[in-house]
Amino acid sequence: MKLGIVELVLLLLAQRGFGGDQSEVGLTTPAEVEFDVTKGSTEVDVVESPTKDSVSERLFVEDDVKSEEAADDDVANAVPETAVGKSSEENQLRIVLGSGDEGAEAVEGERERQGAEEVEETTATLEPKEIRFFDRNNKNFPNTEYLEVKPLHGNNLLVSFNFEANGTTELYPQADEVLYYDVIPKSLGAVLKSTNTRELHLRFGHGWYDSEVNGKLVHNGFSSGGTGVELWATIEADTKEKAFEEWIRLANSLSGMFCASFNFIDSSVTTYPEKLFGGDIDLESQVDLIGKLYHFRSALPREPICTENLTPFLKLLPTKGKQGISTLLSGNKMFNAEWTSMSIDVVTDCEGGDAKHCKQTMEQSINMILNVPKILEKNQMPIPKPTPGTELRCDESRIFDLYHCFPLPLSKEYHYSLIDLFGKAIEGGSLVASEPTKVCLDVNLANWELEMLSLSPITEFFDGSNICFELDTSAEYNFRFNTNNASDVNPVEPPPFYASRSLSGYSQDAGGFRLDLYNPNDESQKIIIFETLPWFVRLYMHSMTISVGDEYGNTKIMSVHDKDLPDYVKQIIYNPAVDRVAPTHLELLIEAPPKSKLKFSFKFDKAMLLYAEYPPDANHGFELEPTIFALADKDNNNEIKYIMRTTTSLLTLPTPDFSMPYNVIILTLTVLALAFGSFFNLIVKKTVKEEDAEILQRERPLEKIKKNIRGLFGR
């Protein structure tokens, strides 16, 4: 029985993890809890059934003490209000709490639309309708996690954390229906439900990705973001206006949740993408939807990504960063990486055609590129003090003595472990996952040696060039990499194309940018370019020129009027900006000939902002969000094979300045203009008496003509 309880605590943990809402726990009084225990007959079944299962017993016998402690710790961490001792009674209580909580949550979720406060009051008194536990035996925990490590050239290391959760959802729940937040935490799930968001994609990016060294982006770029944050969603609504309202609500809710400035999203930064970001799943063809689907996308390139964005990310995980691979993720190590990207994707898939049983998937991933020598050096010497003379690595074939040292290239011999890289080891595999935590290391065993350091036995297997491990206990796992030739790594797949963007501005009022694209392949590729520019960048599409350079160095320059243009630009989707209302949205479908270098250049004017539109805080200019390049399938333009983002660009706008030199310019020129005016008057006009003026006026030729005309009409 005790084991069962321990397990249930763990299960509970899982649910709490998914539930994510802890505030209600404290509201439940013990009396009600008891009531729940006695009444809920179904719970007993659930409590007992896992204990009968020998497999799960064995699993927990191995590390009962540890897991119990871990569980208690976790509960204590996750649910501070209920964190009490370890007695079985209280554990029992907690079980009940969990189920009660679950039911309450379900009800609450359903009532979310009517208002959250009201629900909170009623939570405690509601009787749970159903208790759901995940059966460890049947492995129906909804989530999995997976870590991938791959050494790259230049002593870089790719580390990719992947978390996935699968569940079912109902597109149109009835008012009295129970809702579950077992897959998607309620904090996020309720927002998605209330805004009818069918798909949600979030990207956080930081740093510069060197595709020449690091090759293709991991997962073909589908889980990588550009600098700053990016959000796109598919929202179901009756009209576009309603959908937009929901979009703004969604952005505002996410803003608080992820500590990012999503609340600055308004129509002037929102685009309605066509080729890209149109949703991963075509729900409209799967089921009969009540409303229509609308796609929205927005990016905030100014947003710095930091720990405050990581914490909410971890909170969405069932393990909350306390167990499994997510224990490695700490802000100070993660943001020391050369390049970091976080992504969250929630997708609804109604493949069966039944709107009541749709599959809902939440994928979270963190990818990063670490520079190993840098990290090791920083561990050893946090302040970059000069290397002591005795530790200098000098080329002895050149002049080499106490004063001279020609540095040798970096050593190729490295020994490091996860602790060196992340400051700690993996604190056990996730025990609340449907399958054991998987860690795959893509190393070349010819020159690399792997050590697995753990108290617990581990399953290992080969998966292609990967060596994978399954972490199925809560013991600590550390991996150690030893190599005598760090440059000998498994082949890195080069990206299908290289692209970048540069600004070519030279004045305060106008500028331009150019997109460079290189297709290194032997066959032509169809590439979609997605560009969004803020409204104050007044793009001139007619200024677009394309230069195509082939491998022999011949360059062909074309303007928009060129009749050869359609050979390269297959399709243009262009929504011009509206001042303060909508951004420029440009999508180009182009065909890059084999081994060609394409250069697109555009010109724009910079608009003057209103005084209050300049950011109030310190700023160094206005960022343009990354351009997105995507490789489309040859035959099906809508199928995207690879996607990458350039870096942001910094644009200087004409800034009003009321400082002295400009005052001087304005003042002196005004004085001179006045002087000129009076000079001019004195030169060309003469002063006459009033009576003379009348006579003179009468003598003016015009007056004479007028007089004659009047005479003609007899007046």
């Binding site: 080329d395 050149r398 540069s502 070519s504 200019g621």
Partner: protein, 603 residues
Amino acid sequence: MEGQNRHTYISENALMPSQAHPFFRESEWNFVRGYRNEIISMMHMPLAAKNQVFNDLLTEMGYKTEILNYTDPETGIEKPTLYAIYHVPKGDDTEAMVLTAPWYNPEGKFNVNALALSLGLAKYFRRLSIWAKNIIIIFPDNSDDVLRNWVDAYHTSLDNTGGSIEAAIVLDCPSSKDYLGHIEIEYAGVNGQLPNLDLVNTAIMVAENEAVKVSVNGCPFGQLWTNDYYSRLCSLVNGIFEIAGAGISESLNAQCFSGWNIQAITIRAIDGDRNDITNLGRIIESTFRSVNNLLEKFHQSFFFYLLLDPKIFVSVGMYLPAGGLAAAAFVVASVNAWVGGNDASADVISRIQHSLLIKSIPLVAACLTAIASIGVCVFFALYTSGIFDQSMEFDPFDLTYKWFVLPLFISSLTPVVSYFLLKVKISADYTRALSLIVLFFMGYALVGLMVLNFPLSFVIAICASPLCFVRYASKPSLKRRLINSVFLFISCPALWLIVFGIIHKTEFDLDRLRNIVQYFEFSLLQKEVQNLLDYLEDVDPQVFLDGPVELFIGLLKGYNRVQCWTWIFVCFSWLPVWISMNLIGSIYVYDEISDKEVEKKNQ
């Protein structure tokens, strides 16, 4: 002098110069020496091979390198420029700082220490994790057209870029010793676009913290400690000429970055033994770290200044009145011309009583003349600016003397010549209107220029001021015409071209003059005169002819090289006004009053 200048201060608090301890020291010095040995050993390799060695070293360090090809249009020699970008992990890849180490400095010396230091710093910069702005290191063949070409290409056509450049430092340190005396900071920018004073201040403050003496405006080592009126005046005059002449001389250095909104300075190490080479490295490190701290742009009002001393500057409010007064001379002269003061034969009082009005036809004719002369001169400027880009062969010597100096000198004699030959009369209103218009135009143009490029405006205003005194008359005397000729001659652009050309070429040292004036002693004067005589004896007289030619060619090329519009401005204001005043000074006018009197008598 007190109260007219201020001590420099850091306006942008975020810069925090020399607040952090720079670690470019100790064993880093060994690396610099190691690199230096390597650089010396490859001194005679072709540029492409040298670039390749550097390319490999920088790639190994983790920089992204690329080579920009450049062919010298005059000689046809290929001068590829290597540059390396460190895309810093913590930045957003939108801004960059540039360190430039040309292979050869402006004097043509192999820039050994600058190159070694740049490599050492490149290696060291990778160790620091503080960077928020990208670092770009450039190795052009020289710091003139090759570097300028790179800067242009960076903003127009380069594939690999690292964001907008915030600050740039050009290093000039050709010695191969371990030690250096002091550093010289050059801050002039083309068209009066100085780097932000905060950057200059930062570099100076950092250097002083490293106990390295800094000299600005070419102040000699011996004057670094003085702080009196004469030394500051000397420094000020040097500074004014340095800025006014920016973009014209062959060596551009940091001026290559002008016009792209980049704050750039040149740091030149002067031989000596007061400091070691890592001091210079730490100055660059610390300056970069300060710029790296910037959250905003550099402060806007800190672009207009004149440095008297590394720590003393005159701000725009203090020096503008001087330029304003100089330019106002033309406005006053213009008013004087209007009331008829330029008419040497007429009594001003009677003129004013008579009428201030100018008849329409002479006024329109005067306007057209002024516009035509300006138009012709500007066309001339634009044509001559592009003269070296066309594949026509020009002898610079002929161009200068045959086509510019000589015609102007001869035409400044027109007042005298016309006294004897040409006796055409024209309405006095016409000359009055013309002198009024052109002088006012000159004043206006100079004031307009003053706020942008004070030194140039000031120098032109002083040089052209005799134009205010050119007179016309109905019955001029030969003496008046001679005076006109003299005024026209001493305000002639060609004369000043020769004067400045020779001063520049012979490297005239104002400091010596200061020394004589300040500490006047007969023996000192005697010594300097002796020096001068010795110099004149030794020097090849060709130098005096070459100086103006070089200056003229620099002026003509300026626009196409670095978009320096000094020549265009001269042709827009000075030259047409000079031509118009020449016309005024050479012409006879009807004596209206006396003519009327004659008419009356006839009646």
